[in-house]
Symmetry: C2
């Protein structure tokens, strides 16, 4: 049986003390979740995650989802009841605008809560998670009628949503997609084709499922320019807007996969199903990206979530398992052996996970705040700066935090030794579940290309320059500060490496585009290290301020140590990334295809 | 369905052209597997691996092993027949001395063959693999009678062997073990206790199972000094040495685990089972280490094996899957998209795997040759140098190649995108199977401690100094060689980092032992990179010589590129390891236990 405790105190430290959450109180919705209410909201979320959602995590893995002969799908025992509690508690609609029945609270608060829920049960939380993306796309691109028809029910959670992009022969390259849409003449379309890997494609948890489906309208241009997005409800709506006649979309099978067994990953067959254009004709890719960007941040969050729960379980085991004696002297003389947490190599695993988790949480919450500014601020310059940040950080959060989340699930499993390999202990599930986050919503290689190929040069490099400036100024400000310089020194070195890598790309990627592709993943991780290192420097500064004010507590003292660990042990990797990427694409691409 | 093709040409290149296999022809057994016979032996092994062993790999994962109510265990369909072919072909006894019915061929040849077999089906090959370790322990520590009684049948493969070390509360720390042995007065003992994680503990593939069991003789000293090793056969032998009465050892259950489902991982219950002391009373740990060292090399080999087959499948998919267009210009205009192997980030994954696999193969074969020298040479100085090498490289091969084997299985899975997450494609199995190799036979953290805490200082650092000298001289020799310097430059930089790390340990680990533990894993990987980098430099030199002689072919040209990739992209990681480890244990150990 695994354990889980939501890290509420850490979330509050980051929001209140590091990011200055109070400063945003003039933004719409923030007054309803003021700093003093935050505590209560997060506390309630923690209870639900710990007591209701988490106990179903291993059950879900063991039972999986079952497709019946009629195409219906049963989710694991207890999932529906837990989901009902989740949506009845209003957690689904936390950040949905009030005009659609939501609570209109900050996306930041939703994000903090979503971390706990995904830690507790990633597979279960994918049902509402995908619905969030679908809601975002409908709000952004739907007609008023579509918004009023679908969003309130989805916000309430009685209907859920899906994203239907992938086809058997086309994943990353959506230009190849074949699902077709034929106009019925009444504004609706007949959608036909097969979609695969559809998370939450069919299940028994909601009264209707609103599929958002990419398809090609008859006669549309080839490639990505001819793709449109459609709303295809599982049940067509009757005159009162209630689920009525069954639409001709069905689950053909459930994939047998490595993990997230509690989520139904479906092959979906569309057989002249009735669909309604969402957004502009042939504007599907743009509309889809609204979902996608939301989903990418959500997936990055999953990486953190699994990293966190895996860490917590490794800690518990390391304190409990007695094996060997501390090399620096017996620590538990009353027992036959010391708990393994005394051994440096066990500590190394724990500190690695911890140092990434705490910085990852800060990076995600910082970015969530920027998202709120981008969507809610009245100041155009603020909005633009926030959107720049959001665009830049999305691939980094998705790519780096999911790579690390998986790596840390593996690390946590390693702490358990042989017991980690046995399914009963739940560590294997964390590894198997975390693995998908590196793949879906754009495999991490694609995130790296998005960063290097799009985000870097966008608006003349405005976003990246602004980030460099902010981090550089922070380093400069504390360069001679005795307490801060042990942290800013490592950060500055990392920033220098990142700037050198950026310069290298500018000088070498245009003339030889393969240099960009060859550098992408190293650049992504180099960027991630600097972003996380910056979070550490800011957390340490906030902790030092608290301590100096006489308001310091254990959490603040621990930040100083963990931040130092990050600078000592993790930050030096930036140099290897820089050296690797600046070797260029030659040795990577030189072998002829038939050499493989 | 996965694919597999044994890399015979690469094995031959390494043995013949890089390691000078011919030079060892004066050692016993080598004349029976002379360079011109090698080809034929490896070719036969390849056929068996590809056509018989490999087709059962996914079957084994899906079916797993079944324990019946009477405690008997059925292996997956086809496993027994394939194993019969393996042992009837004499593959089991390849390197077993002729006096015990073996063929007495070089261990090097056995190792080359074992790579193919483990690639083809890791779970199946664990049955004979563990038998090899048990044979080694009996040959080294058994009485003449024990050797004659057990080894020939085990060499023939009609009996198999196991290692019984772990108990529920004791894995790494064997001093805690409780299984007890009570003398019967006739030289035999009654063994009682429970062992867990016993690979191949019970199955239907052999006529008898010879368990080697660590236990504590009544009244023996506490801790590791009071442990003895026992032979406990599943069936006691009758007067003719044939399996007779059932011994009271039984499989209590089969573990439900993440991977290697085809191998029965058993809880074994000993209930006054009849056992016979193997080696000296209270000398169990020493005897066990014979098995363990053999097993550790075997597990390192498994890391390579899975890395290789995962790579091969990723290559096949990357050539076949059409998605997107090459950024440097369309490569397959006749098709709707290019194969994904044209994309640099896909290449990066493939080249990473390839660069490690080829160097890993060289490192293992080099070490296997040293093992042959250590066991067969008539020259004492040669034997000692070879044993030094063997001791030094065992934790490196085990730790680094299994960490990397797993990492590469994950990389290969990533190349498949979403399809990699679906069990059908077999990539998930590689990941799940490879995971155990980082854990068993001493978790990789223990390998790192073995290297830093024992191997480094052994005999005044003789082994490590000899390695540094050899690599340093190689670098020096080719420093001004225009063709070689692009390779030796990176290697030399890595060697410098390794020597600096070694010096740091010498200066800091004695006064503060936690500095050794804190440095161990970084040091292990730093050492691994230099050892693999040295293999690359030697392979490149051999390839260049062939090309210069006019005897060069594609394989030689490709070595130059892949070796360069290793130096460009992988070797620079040594600096991060050095920086990390030389930060010492302070930030790693400073948090109080209750901070976790």
């Amino acid at each position: 049986m695994t354990i889980y405790k939501a890290p509420v105190a850490d979330t509050l430290f980051v929001l209140n003390d590091v990011l200055g959450y109070e400063r945003y109180s003039n933004l719409p919705g923030f007054s309803d979740a003021s700093a003093d209410l935050l505590d209560a909201i997060l506390g309630e979320a923690a209870k639900l995650a710990e007591n209701v959602i988490h106990p179903l995590n291993q059950v879900g893995d063991r039972e999986g989802c079952i497709r019946h002969e009629d195409g219906s799908v049963t989710t694991p025992k207890g999932f529906k009841e837990a989901y009902d509690q989740y949506r009845e508690g209003g957690w689904m609609s936390l950040a949905i605008p009030a005009e659609f029945g939501g609570q209109g609270l900050p996306y930041t608060v939703h994000t903090a809560v979503a971390e706990y829920m995904s830690s507790a049960n990633m597979a279960l939380m994918m049902y509402p998670g995908l619905t969030q993306g679908a809601i975002a796309a409908i709000i952004e691109h739907g007609s008023d009628e579509q918004k009023q028809t679908y969003v309130p029910k989805m916000a309430e959670g009685v209907w859920t949503g899906t994203m239907n992009l992938t086809e058997p022969h086309c994943g990353t390259d959506l230009g190849l997609l074949r699902t077709k849409a034929v106009p019925n003449g009444d504004g609706s379309y007949k959608i036909s084709g097969q979609k695969i890997f559809i998370s939450a494609g069919e299940h028994d948890m909601s009264e209707n499922i609103i599929h958002l489906v990419l398809a090609r309208i008859e006669g549309a241009p080839e490639g990505t320019k001819g793709i449109s997005l459609f709303i295809v409800p599982k049940f067509k709506l009757d005159a009162n807007g209630n689920p009525g006649e069954r639409n001709s979309v069905s689950c053909g099978s459930i994939e047998e996969k490595m993990g997230i067994h509690g989520n139904a990953t479906c092959v979906m067959n569309y057989d002249e199903a009735e669909g309604y254009l969402l957004g502009a004709e042939n504007g599907g890719l743009k509309a889809m990206f609204v979902m996608m960007n939301e989903a990418r941040l959500g997936v990055g969050l999953q990486g953190l979530s699994i990293g966190e729960i895996a860490y917590q379980n490794a800690v518990a085991y390391a304190k409990e398992r007695l094996q060997g004696r501390s090399i620096s002297g017996v620590k538990a003389p009353e027992q036959k052996a010391d708990p393994i947490i005394v051994h440096p190599d066990i500590r190394r695993n724990l500190m690695n996970m911890r140092a990434f988790n705490e910085a990852g949480r800060a990076l995600i919450l910082w970015t969530a705040l920027k998202s709120d500014v981008a969507h809610r601020s009245g100041d155009e310059a603020d909005r633009q700066a926030a959107e720049d940040h959001l665009g830049l950080m999305t691939p980094i959060i998705k790519g780096v935090l999911t790579d690390k989340g998986f790596e840390h699930a593996v690390m946590a499993q390693q702490v358990f030794g042989g017991h980690g390999y046995i399914e009963e202990h739940g560590m294997s599930q964390f590894v198997r579940d975390a693995r998908i986050a590196m793949i879906y919503e754009g495999a991490n290689g694609i995130q790296a290309l998005d960063l290097v190929g799009r985000k870097l040069a966008m608006n003349g490099g405005r976003a990246v320059q602004s980030f460099f400036k902010e981090v550089g100024e922070f380093c400069e400000q504390y360069r001679s500060d005795e307490k801060m310089s042990p942290y800013t020194k490592g950060l500055k070195k990392g920033l220098n490496d990142l700037q050198a890598a950026t310069m290298w790309l500018m000088q070498n990627a245009m003339q030889k585009p393969d240099n960009a592709g060859a550098a992408a993943t190293d650049y992504l991780h180099l960027f991630g290290l600097v972003a996380l290192g910056y979070m550490w420097a800011r957390m340490v500064k906030a902790a030092q301020d608290k301590i100096a004010e006489g308001a310091g507590s254990a959490i603040h003292e621990h930040k100083l140590v963990t931040g130092k660990y990050f600078m000592d042990r993790i930050m030096p990797e930036t140099a290897a990334h820089l050296a690797g990427l600046s070797s260029g694409c030659d040795s990577m691409m030189a072998l002829p295809e038939d050499a493989f």
